[in-house]
């Protein structure tokens, strides 16, 4: 896979605990207007998300998925923050 050098810092936090943080190559989120993919060096954005699945592909190409309730994301200076009310790892074997 190309572009392994470009990555962004991702922080996924639920109201009661942080879920995941690390460097990622891409993140998809359930934005209120439909699914949205975010790549490194995206323009600064603040958007509302609805419940669904947030998944991040880290620099090793491993996918981290979380079932989340409503919240929002903000992206600036190559740092993505996903803040949700509730979130958890999906049960093992569940399709992402």
């Amino acid at each position: 896979m190309a572009g392994s050098q470009s990555s962004m810092q991702v922080n996924i936090v639920a109201a009661d605990r942080p879920l995941w943080s690390g460097a990622a190559r891409s993140v998809t989120i359930p934005a209120s207007e439909g699914g949205m993919g975010i790549l490194p060096d995206h323009e600064p954005i603040l958007t509302v998300i609805k419940s669904g699945t947030v998944s991040a592909v880290d620099t090793e190409g491993k996918r981290h998925s979380f079932d989340v309730s409503d919240g929002f994301i903000s992206f600036d200076s190559n740092r993505l923050t996903v803040a949700v009310q509730r979130g958890e790892e999906p049960k093992a074997g569940a399709a992402e």
């Binding site: 009661d16 605990r17 209120s32 600036d76």
Partner: protein
């Protein structure tokens, strides 16, 4: 002097009470570590949300009912955070004292305070006095989760958004105990709603009006200024919708913060109270043991005197 039997039974009961206090103290100190972890875990979320609100404030002139209430309405909400259980020293009573003085103050300003109570002790205090309570929450004061914060925030925001004719309120005050450190916990009054927009220089920041304690908020604002200008965000779907979604969550996360610091304070004051109680029990046991020994010694002396004097009397008769 009390009988030895009575002293012994008092010593026994004090000993077992002392054991209970000691156990409570140890339970409280283990809960503090837990409360600290919970608070640390909730921090990233509340940081994220205040950053987002900062960004919104820097980008737009926030015009939202949560920030600016248009209609004039004398009814205001007062939320008192008390404990579910006793044995926490003056924790609940200082909250109640502060709440009462706040209610008086609001009355003096011509406002009509509505009471919301969190924690069983506070609820039973006001129920016993037949006071009108708008809503109560019980059973979570030890370990306030996101859910109870959500419940409280939803209820209060709903009442806040209602027009005055339907029993809405125009302000929200929270009386809670701030956790300063293990020994010091301070009762604070915080005006949560409407959220106040503070302009400082050309940077704008949104802080909850801290009443007596805008300390945490002030540091938030300082951080924002240190970062320099916020990046120019694009908001999706629109600024209004983002505001609609984020401001209630901001209020909820602030309420959750209050609940967490109140829970930590409750545990700390319980630990302090139980520590004092254990010390007192030990002192009492020492004192009672001393009395018991003295009374036993007195009775032995008395018996000896009786034996000797009766022996003397017998000897005299034989002579």
């Amino acid at each position: 002097m009390a009988s030895q039997l009575a002293l012994k039974s008092r010593i026994n009961s004090t000993t077992s009470l002392g054991k209970i206090f000691n156990a409570q103290e140890m339970i409280a100190s283990s809960h503090i570590a837990k409360a600290r972890t919970v608070a640390l875990n909730a921090k990233p979320y509340s940081d994220a949300i205040s950053d987002a609100v900062q960004a919104l404030a820097a980008h737009t002139d926030i015009d939202h009912p949560i920030v600016r209430k248009k209609e004039r309405n004398p009814r205001v909400a007062v939320l008192a955070l008390t404990a579910d259980r006793g044995m926490a020293g003056a924790y609940t009573s200082s909250i109640i004292r502060e709440t009462e003085s706040l209610l008086d103050r609001l009355d003096g300003q011509g406002k009509q305070p509505e009471l919301y109570v969190y924690g069983r002790r506070g609820v039973s205090y006001y129920k016993y006095r037949n006071r009108d309570i708008s809503a109560t929450w019980e059973g979570d004061s030890d370990h306030p989760g996101v859910r109870v914060a959500e419940d409280i925030a939803n209820r209060l925001l709903a009442d806040y958004m209602k027009p005055a004719s339907e029993g809405g309120v125009s302000e929200l005050y929270i009386v809670f105990t701030e956790f300063v450190n293990m020994v010091v916990q301070k009762v604070r009054v915080l005006r949560m709603l409407p959220v106040k927009v503070v302009r400082s220089g050309d940077a704008k920041s949104v802080v909850g009006d801290g009443g007596k304690a805008p300390k945490a908020d002030a540091t938030d604002a300082d951080d924002a200024q240190a970062d320099g200008t916020s990046p120019l965000y694009s908001f999706e779907p629109s600024v209004e919708q983002v505001l609609d979604a984020i401001l209630p969550k901001y209020v909820q996360s602030r309420i959750h913060e209050c609940l967490l610091t109140a829970a930590a304070s409750e545990t700390a004051s319980r630990q302090n109270a139980m520590h004092t109680a254990t010390d007192n029990a030990n002192n009492l046991i020492d004192e009672l043991t001393r009395q018991l020994n003295a009374s036993r010694q007195a009775s032995i002396t008395q018996e000896l005197t009786e034996i000797i004097s009766s022996a003397d009397a017998l000897n005299k008769e034989e002579e």
